[in-house]
Symmetry: C2
Subunit: 250 residues, 2 copies
């Protein structure tokens, strides 16, 4: 990605699809995009999942695109009647939508002209003014209109589209993260002092994350921040705290 | 679950946590809750993920609890400084919050009284008027206030809390789903006629879901609805369409 920005570059994800809300399909895109953006210096601030309902999609598009630097959407850009994302984006921006000759040409790389029926041509309908995002897998493109990046829901295609669009995005200073392993040291033992460390290190955020293992809880403390020096200081303070409490227990 | 309701019972999920937005932790709760609710006759209509920031959490709590029958939250109820969900719920409802003697007693099942420090007691702080949700794993309870169900973020604990609270919830008619395998029949071949089938079967929703396999795309068509007869008719119409197009290709 290019053009590092001095102020935070933010993003939201809008996942579109009844199949996620019914639980039939387990989303794999949110975690992938989240990690990708963090590594690229773009801060993911919100995620929403909405059904294949025009008013819901348009309302979420407008709420999120107004609030963050970028909005990434996944799902709803195929050839079937429930694929309404492109129309919703056109509606949200108040622009027209029509078959785009560039998108049609992309479809013809995979589909013979005689087979390019009305349903398939739906995948070439692109809102006016959008840039296309190439799809090396099934050719039907995504697009970027203003700050909204519209991608497929199928994970492998979404991932290829993200790689394709990434160089066009402005990025900010990367938020780096350091993990301190607290092992089986109980959160309740370090929570009080950890809050003090957090308070005395403004500019970093400190989180404590328990997970369950067959042997019981395992705790990790994550320190996150943009400034390497502040981050290193906070990391050291947390590591000292954990080491002191661990040795007091043994 | 009890008390089947004649009108749709709806729900939203609010996932609270910086670690999901940074991509460090991959959420496993949305898909689990989605499937659980669908099987229980509760329709999941929206999901949001927000950071550990009070204003964001309170705003999302108030937007979602006003709009759906139930709001399920995950995350942010541990003992550390970044666990602010209970306080945010109290703020959203405009009620007080204090150490609840019942919750304190639950903590004492696992933690000796001498070790019940201030941080650990945070896990017994419950908004006024809430009912507790038992946690058989680590004892610190979740709670239900009005239509908001507050659960842990650790999946095994969240799942146990969901089982605990489920019998208290009103449920509606279950939305049943039938899947028709379209195999490698291209979506673009059946999309036009599928839209006709969808149009002529109001009361059911029909979705087409491609996935990538090593052998190429595999498509599944899902028909969903509450009325068994309407659902069976739509299912048959889709199965006929797929069979006809498949035999025309061979």
């Amino acid at each position: 990605m290019s053009d590092a920005s001095p102020s935070p570059v933010t993003a939201a994800i809008l996942v579109i699809g009844d199949e996620i809300l019914s639980g039939r399909t387990k989303d794999k895109n949110i975690g992938y995009i989240a990690e990708y953006l963090t590594n690229s210096g773009i801060e993911l601030r919100e995620v929403r999942v909405v059904p294949d309902v025009e008013e819901e999609i348009v309302a979420a598009l407008n709420a999120l695109r107004a609030r963050y630097t970028y909005l990434f959407t996944t799902g709803g850009i195929g050839p079937t009647h429930d694929d309404i994302t492109a129309d919703c984006v056109a509606k949200a921006f108040g622009v027209g939508i029509a078959v785009d000759p560039r998108a049609r040409a992309m479809l013809l790389e995979r589909i013979a002209e005689a087979d390019l029926n009305e349903a398939r041509l739906r995948m070439a309908r692109i809102p006016d003014g959008a840039e296309l995002i190439e799809n090396p897998i099934s050719k039907a493109p995504g697009f970027m209109l203003g700050n909204v990046i519209v991608m497929a829901g199928v994970p492998s295609i979404m991932q290829a589209m993200l790689d394709n669009v990434a160089p066009r995005l402005t990025t900010g200073a990367r938020v780096a993260a350091e993990t301190i392993e607290a092992g089986n040291l109980p959160e309740g033992l370090y929570a009080g002092e950890l809050a003090e460390v957090a308070k005395s290190h403004p500019g970093v955020s400190i989180g404590s994350y328990p997970s369950m293992t067959p042997a019981g809880f395992r705790n990790q403390i994550v320190v996150r921040g943009r400034d390497p020096e502040t981050l290193a200081q906070a990391r050291a303070a947390v590591a000292d705290l954990v080491a002191r409490l661990q040795s007091a227990r043994t």
